[in-house]
């Protein structure tokens, strides 16, 4: 098993932490994992992305030029990463912010109204968890449960009160594709 995932969105959308959480959970399940962020100078406004690889073998390159899965939280990310998805791969789209359709028919497209659901839950910042939940349900690379259990390790202590809402968001996302 080897899964290469790219997550992308605006600076504040939490794509980095969603990637870390996924990688952490993968590690917990005994897989080899790597997490690689994009980085730039501290000038704001750009998009951020990270690459997570989860594999049963040692991971060669931590970068991915043909990811199995891409999750995009905003439009620029869609445009940048949709063409990269491996044939037969999957793209998850934050349909709350992205109206545009994917112009490929050789990949699976999953629309996740991540911001809408997050707003329903009362915290727009958990849109990333909604997205991740959908991914986990679709791909079965890492167990949803492991991800939930990882929250307390990945979130800083002062944010532990947010664990329940994060779990809920994961569930809501997962429910979408089940």
């Amino acid at each position: 098993m080897k899964e290469e995932i790219i997550m992308a969105g605006f600076g504040g959308q939490g794509v980095m932490s969603m990637g870390k959480l996924l990688a952490y959970a993968g590690m917990k399940e005994g897989d080899e994992v790597s997490w690689m962020p994009s980085y730039g100078p501290e000038m704001r406004g750009g998009t951020a992305n990270c690459t997570v690889i989860i594999s049963s073998e040692k991971i060669p390159s931590p970068l991915s030029s043909r990811p199995d899965t891409v999750m995009v939280m905003n439009l620029p990310s869609l445009e940048k990463f949709a063409p990269m998805v491996k044939e037969g791969g999957t793209i998850l789209i934050n349909s709350s912010l992205i109206a545009k359709e994917v112009e490929r028919d050789d990949i699976e497209v999953i629309k996740v109204p991540a911001n809408e659901i997050a707003n329903e839950l009362g915290n727009s910042r958990v849109a990333n968890m909604v997205m991740l939940g959908a991914y986990l349900a679709r791909k079965n690379i890492v167990k949803l449960d492991t991800v939930k259990k990882s929250l307390k390790d990945v979130l800083p202590e002062r944010r532990h009160d947010l664990i329940p809402i994060n779990e809920e968001a994961l569930d809501r996302g997962a429910a979408l594709v089940k």
Binding site: E42, M43, R44, G45
Partner: protein
Amino acid sequence: MKLVAGYPDSLTEKPFHYCPGCTHGIIHRLVAEVIDELGIREETIGVAPVGCSVLAYEYFDVDMFEASHGRAPAVATGVKRVHPDKIVFTYQGDGDLASIGTAEIIHAANRGEKITTIFVNNAIYGMTGGQMAPTTLVGQKTTTSPFGRDTNTAGHPIKISEMLSVLDGSAYIARVSVHDPKHIRQAKKAIKKAFQVQIEGKGFALVEVLSACPTNWGMAPVEAVKWLADNMVPTYPLGEFKEVE
């Protein structure tokens, strides 16, 4: 209708890359307005630092250098000695000027190098993500002073303007702020003087501009300028420290 606040000729059309509410933008505009008002756009050569304003060379519509970190005064010296009839300015942050570039600014000032320096003191390293600067306030938390700046191990905020005023070669030294329109107006006056001093060949001129870094201070812009007024201004008294006749 008459234009009372427009877009300076000495700025290119390029939108700034700065964060929302970053006062680097105000300072850029003031410098450009002064260059316009003095009619020296085609005589001016600017030197950008390494810091958030590294891309200043894309914004000022004058001949520009991108200098290595801290060495803008040395670069400006090289330029000015070749073109003594041109107007040369440096634009530098507090990491650039008050830390790595300490020797260069002091010796440019001491030589009385006929250049103008705009010193943007935002009490932090903006570009690299919020590390402590020598101008960071006592107790201020940054990514490399996570428990707040401790004077016992990291010393006190460094007083560049006061220090440069001691040197015989400095002709004009002032500290200003840009946290509200009144202070912005004063800042512009000081910047204008600092260019005039150069035009008149009097010596080295520097304006220290207290500036906000909302991003690395972790504040909204409105909050940041308030913090500037309430915390930086008391630490760094405003005023003209030196003016040679």
